[in-house]
């Protein structure tokens, strides 16, 4: 498969969010979140546990319905879309990488079948083509070609996560949601995965929203950063700017909490 360079028009945001609010009864999940995401841009969302990062990501990706606010994707109102259209978007233009690969993979289906599922879901009906594409994508995420018929249960944690990424990117999505993609992996595997992700994001011109509590991950991947606390965005800006010169007290605490080896 050859990658066509995407025509990136940076003057229109790919995803525009304004005033997004989700409440769980009296409690706030996330409140009044607004941002624009441009094509090819990687946005990091950091914050401690319970700060509303995952709620925000679920609202954005359509898994949860926000109480207030607007989400516009490619000039279309996401919240006004019918379920059919939203789910179609979810398996073509969008991708979602779960923290635990077991949530995002079919553990009873071979690696090739896992990668091919999205292709078959959008109508691919030629076995040879599907298999070639699956093999190609396994190669891109550094999984050996002879593992194509093995089930993910036979894979290590790092391989499972790479397989999940291949499965998500096979339909060439434009927007990828990632929820702690490196969580639960040891540091050397994390480093390789980040390297791989950085390459894919650059080569495919992906827009990514990445939720993590690991500042190193956003330092490497994200162009822009949003810091959340108590469901609200307390600071946002360019990643290096936020991490090197944090303005909000909580961001300062977060940055200074990182252990130096």
């Amino acid at each position: 498969m050859t990658m066509m360079p995407r025509t990136i028009t940076t003057d229109e945001p790919l995803l525009a969010v304004s005033g997004l609010t989700k409440r769980y009864g009296a409690r706030i999940g996330c409140a009044d979140v607004s941002f624009d995401l441009y094509p090819g841009e990687v946005l990091g969302i950091v914050g401690e546990s319970g700060s509303g990062k995952s709620t925000l990501l679920s609202c954005l990706s359509g898994h949860l319905r926000p109480d207030f606010g607007r989400i516009t994707y490619d000039a279309r109102d996401v919240l006004a879309m019918g379920e059919t259209e939203r789910r179609r978007l979810g398996r073509t233009d969008w991708a979602y990488v779960h923290q635990n690969p077991r949530d995002g993979l079919r553990m009873g289906v071979s690696a090739g079948g896992n990668v091919g599922e999205r292709l078959m879901a959008i109508g691919a009906r030629h076995y040879g083509d599907i298999r070639d594409k699956a093999a190609d994508w396994l190669g891109r995420v550094e999984i050996a070609a002879d593992r194509i018929d093995d089930r993910p249960t036979a894979f290590s944690g790092g391989m499972q996560q790479r397989l999940q990424i291949a499965r998500n990117l096979v339909t060439s999505p434009r927007l990828v949601f990632m929820d702690e993609p490196t969580g639960g992996l040891d540091v050397s595997v994390q480093a390789r995965l980040l390297d791989l992700l950085r390459g894919l994001v650059r080569d495919l011109g992906l827009s990514v929203i990445i939720v993590t509590h690991d500042l190193a991950v956003v330092r490497l991947l994200a162009h822009r950063l949003m810091v959340m606390k108590g469901g609200r965005v307390v600071e946002q800006g360019l990643t290096d700017q936020v991490l090197d010169d944090p303005q909000h007290a909580y961001t300062q605490l977060l940055v200074s909490s990182v252990l130096q080896v």
Partner: protein, 290 residues
């Protein structure tokens, strides 16, 4: 309890009305699984409780009933269900496919082509074709609603990846009228081509799962496949050893412990009919001598 305490065909009239409503809805939306309030029947789940309820709701006193199990009229399941309706409905019974007005079947479609006016009732263990791929019923219903059937092809993909061909040989998934993907019950895929454009009404009853679905006459039914791995109805590559039929579905029967075996038609009525017409197979002459 005496026989007089039973209503005609065992079920009370209100229950039959409820089942008929489900059947009518199923016929109106071919391939759609209609939920119904399945009743306890005097037989265990898995023995055809769904089929029996559908048959019961369809029967009228003038009907002539045929019951087959894996194609045979004389196996336990077929004999007891036939007796059940003889006793509770007093309808005439037959083994001849062409003469029957209602045929209840487990896992086969008769070889003799069906004709208009006949009703074929299938016993269905698991009506949901997506069940083993997606265990959540809420999710599979959503997938049917939104026509998200990519997962069905993942199963076929896995078959080819593991076995080189589509190894699914029974309960082979079909698409009905370009809309619903349907489990044709565990009939061999050899029978799949008979599902489509069939002049008879085909009703599917799943008692434990409480679902009824249907194919009205002359419905378009397509077996799922890949462009480069097309659907192939398969059977054992033999002729029937009793009647010599080349194009009927065969059972393999082990005859001794030295590897001896014979292949016979699974449809006993079809095989007996051919033998009565003078057709002979590889082993018929030998048996006559013995």
């Amino acid at each position: 309890m005496t026989d007089q305490a039973y209503n005609f065909a065992y079920l009370d009239e209100q229950t039959k009305r409820m089942i008929r409503r489900a059947i009518l809805k199923g016929i109106a939306v071919p391939g759609y699984q209609v939920p119904f309030a399945s009743r306890e029947m005097p037989m265990p789940y898995g023995w055809g409780t769904g089929g029996v309820q559908v048959t019961s709701a369809c029967l009228v006193p003038e009907d002539r009933l045929k019951v087959i199990d894996q194609g045979a009229d004389d196996t336990t399941n077929a004999v007891s269900i036939r007796k059940f309706f003889q006793r509770t409905a007093g309808v005439a019974v037959t083994e001849a496919t062409a003469e029957a007005t209602v045929i209840q079947t487990r896992h086969r479609i008769p070889e003799t082509p069906l004709h208009e006016g006949q009703i074929l009732v299938y016993q269905v263990p698991i009506p949901e074709p997506l069940r083993f791929l997606e265990p959540r019923e809420t999710e599979t219903r959503k997938m049917h609603e939104l026509e998200e059937y990519g997962l069905m092809h993942v199963k076929l993909y896995e078959d080819i990846a593991r076995h080189g061909t589509i190894a699914t040989s029974y309960a082979y998934p079909v698409k009905v009228e370009g809309r619903y993907v349907m489990d044709p019950s565990p009939i061999p895929k050899f029978d799949n081509p008979k599902l489509g454009q069939n002049p008879a009404i085909q009703l599917f009853g799943a008692g434990r799962e409480q679902r009824i679905y249907a194919l009205p006459p002359f419905t378009e039914v397509v077996s799922l496949d890949f462009d480069d791995h097309p659907f192939e109805p398969s059977k054992a590559p033999h002729d029937c050893d009793l009647c010599g039929a080349r194009d009927s579905y065969l059972d393999e029967v082990i005859t001794d412990d030295r590897g001896g075996r014979m292949f016979v038609c699974s449809d006993t009525d079809f095989c007996a009919g051919r033998q009565a017409d003078g057709h002979r197979g590889r082993l018929s002459a030998v048996e006559a001598v013995q």
